[in-house]
Subunit: 314 residues, 2 copies
């Protein structure tokens, strides 16, 4: 009878699941919806039922379960409130253990878990310590030291989107603060910066914007790739503030490499170039010339990292 | 025959040494000058000779040696250039091992080692993770997670004095960067801020400054304690920028507590108050209400932390 491991990427809309062999090979992956009604009390039972159903076609038993979820999680697997799932303070690890009978369970924050996935099988392969930056609707971070997640005393390590890169600036962040990294460098932030001055320009974005079309971060990078001066300026602003943010992070944890993921990273090498130059301009000598990599696992980073928490292999 | 441990705090002018019992009791402490001539090649032999001399009055042998020194050190004890000591790249751990015959040797950065001392026997007692901030001529930092130093991939973790709290500001730091935390919140930075506008004020500092007396950070805190409006304003600026800096650090490593040491911390609770309020105003909810403590070990933090690297006991 074989041993299997399950990696779970629990999101606000969808639960992604992966079944792994005991040498870390992804055998099967599937999704179920996240049922958030009734304070999210169906979420874990739904997951367990789905795993049991999947296992009916495999001869073996589950030896470990790893999970990532969208909120701060302590190292003991306790969530201290997760509005995206309807949960208050909740001992997720113990609950999963009692529902499944599996002893080897680890629960982490989704951004941290994705970072663990990338250092194991993705853009961070070969490094011992990375900072992964996920640039999507917001900006998330995951800190890995010696191959392990740094989760922090309350599970909120790596919340780098809320680092102040423009202290006291007028821009208000979703966290209630001002001048957070996320205000300028998330997909939303890039689009907002672009909308700010676009009408005065005479480029194609301005035309379609005046006709009522939204501007996205992708539009900005696409324009920059065609050498549109205004788009290049926005990309440079993005790169400057992200470069300053990563320089500040390096002064705290001094990683070997930065891995850049999330939707905005699909713009590719231009994103790295914009950040890397500004990073080197804003960091002290001892911390210059770190490695910069694009994330490689896309939406699978979560299930890989989740299972990596419980599956120690190369 | 008893076992002893040695903690060494190697500074640019003086080497502080401490002899400890195997339960971590400080039995003896002494100092020798740091001989930096000839590219610092006398420093380690001088230290070893001094330890041997000291041990002639003790019946027993040295079981472990820990050292802190003023530069980046990798976890294997390799220094990558330390101008303060005249050293280039140098395997300090191996050299100390071959000079002494002791196998259990650890070498760390002085700010990191001081943080380890404070969490063991000082202001950080009882916590599992702290960030120690040393506010002196410069601003240094030490990150402790799960009771251990986070040294970073090149030994430069905790170099928080060079975090940008005013990116692009005109003030130039010793590191060559602009707007570093250290430019405003070190003793030097506080004095510089105070000198900047003092002539327009009519307080006592302005009078003595015009007569040629230097203004120190201590003068500023002393004035603030007597409710001088200008000094209170400088203290508030200091607290604001340090609060922002510590909020940024928390967003990376989420410690349980901050421990504030160095010469400026001698101003006491006023320093904590100035920082703590601004920290809470500038950090996201999940990271609010951390503990703030004054360092307690003063100049002995270095020898305590140094020995703690090799002496695991409670």
């Amino acid at each position: 009878m074989s041993s299997y491991y399950v990696g779970i990427d629990l999101g606000g809309t969808t639960v992604k699941l992966g079944l792994f062999s005991d040498v870390g090979e992804l055998l099967d992956k599937w999704e179920i919806p996240t049922r958030k009604e009734d304070d999210g009390k169906h979420i874990l039972p739904d997951i367990v039922e789905s795993i049991e159903e999947k296992m009916s076609s495999y001869d073996g038993h589950i030896k470990g379960i790893g999970m990532g979820l969208p909120g701060p999680v302590t190292e003991d697997g306790v969530v201290k409130g997760c509005v995206n799932l309807g949960w208050g303070t909740f001992d997720v690890k113990n609950e999963l253990a009692s529902l499944t009978g599996v002893g080897n369970i680890k629960v982490g924050n989704d951004a941290n878990v994705a970072a663990l996935g990338e250092i194991w099988k993705g853009g961070g392969r070969g490094f011992d310590s990375i900072v992964m930056v996920t640039i999507g609707t917001g900006v998330g971070g995951g800190i890995i030291q010696h191959g392990k997640i740094v989760s922090g005393s309350s599970g909120a390590a790596g919340e780098i989107g809320h680092m102040k890169v423009k202290p006291g600036a007028p821009e208000v962040c979703g966290c209630g603060g001002h001048g957070c990294l996320e205000c300028y460098t998330s997909a939303t932030g890039i689009a907002r910066m672009a909308k700010g001055g676009v009408v005065e320009t005479k480029n194609t974005l301005a035309g379609s914007y005046l006709e009522g079309k939204e501007i996205t971060a992708k539009d900005v990078f696409d324009g920059a790739k065609e050498n549109d001066a205004y788009c290049l300026e926005i990309v440079e602003n993005f790169g400057y503030l992200m470069g300053v943010g990563l320089a500040n992070i390096a002064s705290v944890v001094d990683p070997e490499a930065f891995v850049i993921g999330g939707g905005v990273s699909k713009a590719g090498q231009m994103v790295i170039d914009a950040i890397e130059n500004n990073y080197n301009d804003n960091v002290m000598n001892a911390l210059k010339n770190k490695q910069f990599r694009l994330a490689e696992l896309g939406n699978d980073a979560g299930i890989y990292g989740a299972v990596r928490q419980v599956l120690i292999c190369r």
